[in-house]
C-alpha cells in the first residue's frame, strides 16, 4: 500500500429524515484539529435523497470539501448500498483518516467499510490526536468498562478509521463567511442493488431524546423507590433540555425502558452534564458515565461510590431534593424570561 497517496480527513455526515443531523457538525470539530495539524483538507461526506438543509452549513462549521451523493435510492439506510458507495469514494479520493459518529449508523457502516477496505477501525474514541511526523492517527478509547484507557493506531494501513462518541465534542463556532467546494457524485444503478428492503419507521416517544445525543442526562436508580418518580426526572430533564437515563437496577425493575440504561450493558455516554439521582454507582454504571464533563450525584448513602466520580454531590433523600430543585429551576427560568 502506498500510504503517501492517502491525504485528507473525512467525516461521515448523517442524514435523518432528509436533514443533515447535528453529529455531522460535531464530527467536523473533531476533524478540524487533525486536518490543521496535518495541513490537509477537511471533508464531509453526505449520502441521502433530496437532501434538505444547507450543504453550506457544513462549510460554515469547518468543512473545506463536501462530497454529496444524492439519489432517491438513498432515502433509507440500506447498509450494502451505503458501504458500496463509501468504498467507491474512498478508492477514488483516498483520504488518510475517516471518522464517523458512534451512532447506530456509524457503528454499522464503519466496520462494514473497514472490512471492505481491509483496514483498522477503532470504536467509540473519546480523544483523537495525530503524530504529525508519521501522519498517524492516535485514537484513545476506554476499554474494560472505562477502567482502562487505550491509545490505538493503525500504522501501516490506510485509511485510518475511527468512530467517536456522540456529543463528546461541541461543533465549532459557525463562520458564515467560510466557503468550500461541493463534489457531487453519481453512481450507476447497479450500485443501488440491495439485499435489504426498508419497510417502515415508527417514532418512539420513549426514545425521543436519545441519551447518547444529549448534552444533559439526568439518570435515576433504585433510590427513586418507584417508577412513577421518574416523572420528576423527566420534569428536571425538560427544564435543562436533557434526556433521562437510568441505572440497570431501575431498568430491571421495569421503571423505564432499556434504551435509557447507562452503563456497561447499556449505553456509554460523555455528556457535558450528568446527574445521578439515587444511583449508588456500581462499577458497571460508572463505566458508562465517568467520562462526562460535569457530574452531580444525589444519594442518601454518604459512602456511595458515585460520590467519588462526582464534581458536586448532595448526601440526602432524592425524593425530597428533586421537588425543591425543580421548583427552584422553574423560578430561575421565569426570572430569565
Amino acid at each position: 500500500m502506498l500510504k503517501n497517496e492517502y491525504r485528507g480527513v473525512w467525516t461521515i455526515g448523517e442524514v435523518r429524515n432528509g436533514e443533515i443531523s447535528s453529529v455531522s457538525y460535531e464530527l467536523l470539530a473533531w476533524g478540524k484539529k487533525l486536518a490543521e495539524k496535518l495541513k490537509v483538507e477537511l471533508s464531509s461526506v453526505i449520502l441521502g435523497s433530496d437532501i434538505q438543509g444547507e450543504l453550506n452549513e457544513l462549510f460554515h462549521f469547518g468543512a473545506d470539501v463536501v462530497y454529496v451523493v444524492d439519489d432517491e435510492n438513498l432515502e433509507h439506510f440500506l447498509p450494502d448500498v451505503h458501504s458500496r458507495i463509501y468504498e467507491a469514494l474512498v478508492k477514488e479520493y483516498k483520504p488518510e483518516i475517516i471518522i464517523a459518529s458512534a451512532t447506530t449508523y456509524g457503528r454499522t457502516i464503519m466496520p462494514m467499510l473497514a472490512a471492505k477496505l481491509g483496514t483498522g477501525l477503532t470504536a467509540d474514541c473519546t480523544k483523537l490526536d495525530v503524530d504529525v511526523k508519521e501522519r498517524i492517527l492516535l485514537q484513545t478509547r476506554p476499554a474494560i468498562g472505562g477502567n482502562v484507557m487505550a491509545t490505538i493506531k493503525t500504522p501501516n494501513h490506510r485509511p485510518q478509521m475511527a468512530t467517536v462518541r456522540p456529543h463528546a465534542q461541541k461543533a465549532l463556532v459557525k463562520d458564515e463567511k467560510k466557503d468550500g467546494k461541493i463534489i457531487l457524485k453519481n453512481y450507476p444503478s447497479e450500485f443501488y442493488k440491495s439485499k435489504y428492503r426498508w419497510v417502515s419507521f415508527e417514532r418512539d416517544k420513549s426514545v425521543d431524546s436519545p441519551i447518547q445525543e444529549s448534552d444533559v442526562v439526568i439518570s435515576g436508580g433504585k433510590g427513586l423507590k418507584d417508577g412513577k418518580n421518574f416523572k420528576m426526572l423527566y420534569d428536571l430533564a425538560k427544564k435543562l433540555n436533557g434526556a433521562v437515563g437510568a441505572s440497570r437496577a431501575a431498568v430491571d425493575m421495569g421503571w423505564i425502558p432499556y434504551s435509557h440504561q447507562v452503563g456497561l450493558s447499556g449505553k456509554t455516554l460523555s455528556p457535558r452534564f450528568y446527574m445521578a439521582v439515587g444511583i449508588s454507582g456500581a462499577v458497571q454504571h460508572i463505566a458508562g458515565m465517568s467520562s462526562s464533563e460535569v457530574i452531580v450525584a444525589i444519594n442518601k448513602d454518604p459512602d456511595a461510590a458515585i460520590f467519588k466520580v462526582a464534581d458536586f454531590g448532595i448526601v440526602g433523600d432524592a425524593l425530597e431534593i428533586l421537588p425543591v430543585l425543580i421548583k427552584k429551576l422553574s423560578d430561575e427560568v421565569n426570572e430569565n424570561d
Binding site: 447498509p79 447506530t104 454499522t108 466496520p111 462494514m112 473497514a114 472490512a115 483496514t119 483498522g120 477503532t122 470504536a123 476506554p142 476499554a143 474494560i144 477502567n147 482502562v148 484507557m149 487505550a150 491509545t151 490505538i152 494501513h157 439485499k195 435489504y196 419497510v199 417502515s200 419507521f201 415508527e202 417514532r203 418512539d204 426514545v207 435543562l240 425502558p257 432499556y258 434504551s259 440504561q261 456497561l264 450493558s265 447499556g266 456509554t268 457535558r272 452534564f273 462499577v283 458497571q284 460508572i286 465517568s290 460535569v294 452531580v296 454518604p302 460520590f307 462526582a310 464534581d311 448532595i314 448526601v315 440526602g316 425530597e320 431534593i321 425543591v324 430543585l325 427552584k328 429551576l329
Partner: protein, 263 residues
C-alpha cells in the same frame, strides 16, 4: 435451517471491584463468563429452534481453551453444538482479524441461514465484529435488532432499535443479525440443559482446521496496534455536602450548575 451464534468469553464484571486508590479493576482470580449481551443472541436462536422444525443451532467462539465454558453455557441454554476456535496463531487479533477467522470458521462449518451476535462484548465494547464478519462473508448484516417479526426461507423481517424510534427492514437470507437486550429475556439453563452440556463434546478448531491464511489472523493480520494503556483517574475529589436544610443544599447545587454553565 442452520443457525450460528457467535459468542465471546469475557472477564466476569459482576465480580469486579475497583481499587479506590488507582481506579483499576481488581479481578478476583480472573473469573470469566459468557458475554452477558451474547445471551440474548443465544436465546433468540434457541427460540427459533423451538418454534420451527429442523432447526440446528451452533455456537462458535474464538478464545483461549477455558472459553469452552462459555460454549457449554450456550449449549445448556439449548444450542445443539459448540465449536471453539483456539490457536496461538489467533492471539492478538483485532476486530478485523477476529472477524476474518470467525468468517473462515463459519464457511468451514457451512451453510448457515442465519448468524446471530450480541450487540457488543462487555470487555472490548466495539460492536465491530458482527458487521465485519457479515461483510467478509459477503452477506447482509442488520444491527440493533430488537424484534424478529417474520422468518421465511428467503428473508427475515426485523425491527431495529435506533435513535428516535424503531425501524423495520426485510433482509435476504443468509444474513447476520446483531441483537440488543430488548429482544428477549434469556432463560436460565434447566437441569436437563446442564446435563446435556456436560456430556457434549466441544470440538476444537485450529487455524489449520478452518484453513485461514496465517498472515490474516493474530497480530500479523491486525491493522491496529495498541500504543499505550493507562488508568484514568476516576476520582474527581468533588465537593460533597450533607443536607441540613433542603433549601440551602438545593441553592448550592443550583449555584454550582450556573457556574458550570448548565443553567
Amino acid at each position: 435451517m442452520r443457525i450460528a451464534v457467535l459468542v465471546k468469553e469475557v472477564p466476569a464484571t459482576d465480580k469486579v471491584k475497583m481499587d479506590e486508590k488507582t481506579g483499576t479493576m481488581i479481578r478476583s482470580g480472573m473469573e470469566s463468563e459468557l458475554n452477558p449481551l451474547d445471551m440474548y443472541a443465544v436465546e433468540e436462536a434457541v427460540r427459533i429452534k423451538e418454534k420451527f422444525e429442523n432447526v440446528h443451532v451452533v455456537a462458535i467462539s474464538m478464545g483461549p481453551p477455558q472459553a469452552v465454558n462459555s460454549l457449554k453455557e450456550a449449549i445448556s441454554m439449548g444450542c445443539d453444538d459448540g465449536y471453539l476456535m483456539s490457536d496461538k496463531n489467533f492471539a492478538g487479533s483485532d476486530t478485523l482479524a477476529t472477524a476474518y477467522a470467525l468468517s473462515a470458521a463459519i464457511q468451514k462449518l457451512g451453510n448457515f441461514d442465519l448468524i446471530f451476535t450480541g450487540e457488543r462484548a462487555t470487555d472490548g465494547e466495539t460492536g465491530q465484529v458482527g458487521p465485519s464478519v457479515a461483510t467478509q462473508l459477503g452477506i447482509p448484516v442488520v444491527t440493533y435488532v430488537s424484534k424478529i417479526e417474520k422468518i421465511s426461507d428467503e428473508f427475515v423481517r426485523v425491527c431495529r432499535s435506533i435513535e428516535g424510534g424503531k425501524e423495520t427492514v426485510e433482509v435476504e437470507l443468509p444474513a447476520l443479525l446483531s441483537v440488543v437486550k430488548e429482544i428477549n429475556e434469556p432463560r436460565i439453563p434447566n437441569l436437563a440443559g446442564k446435563i446435556a452440556s456436560k456430556s457434549k463434546k466441544v470440538p476444537l478448531l485450529t487455524a489449520n482446521d478452518i484453513e485461514v491464511i496465517l498472515d490474516k489472523v493474530g497480530l500479523s493480520g491486525s491493522p491496529t496496534r495498541v500504543v499505550k494503556v493507562f488508568y484514568p483517574k476516576l476520582s474527581r475529589d468533588g465537593k460533597i455536602i450533607k443536607v441540613r436544610d433542603l433549601e440551602s443544599a438545593v441553592n448550592e447545587l443550583v449555584e454550582f450548575m450556573k457556574q458550570k454553565g448548565v443553567i
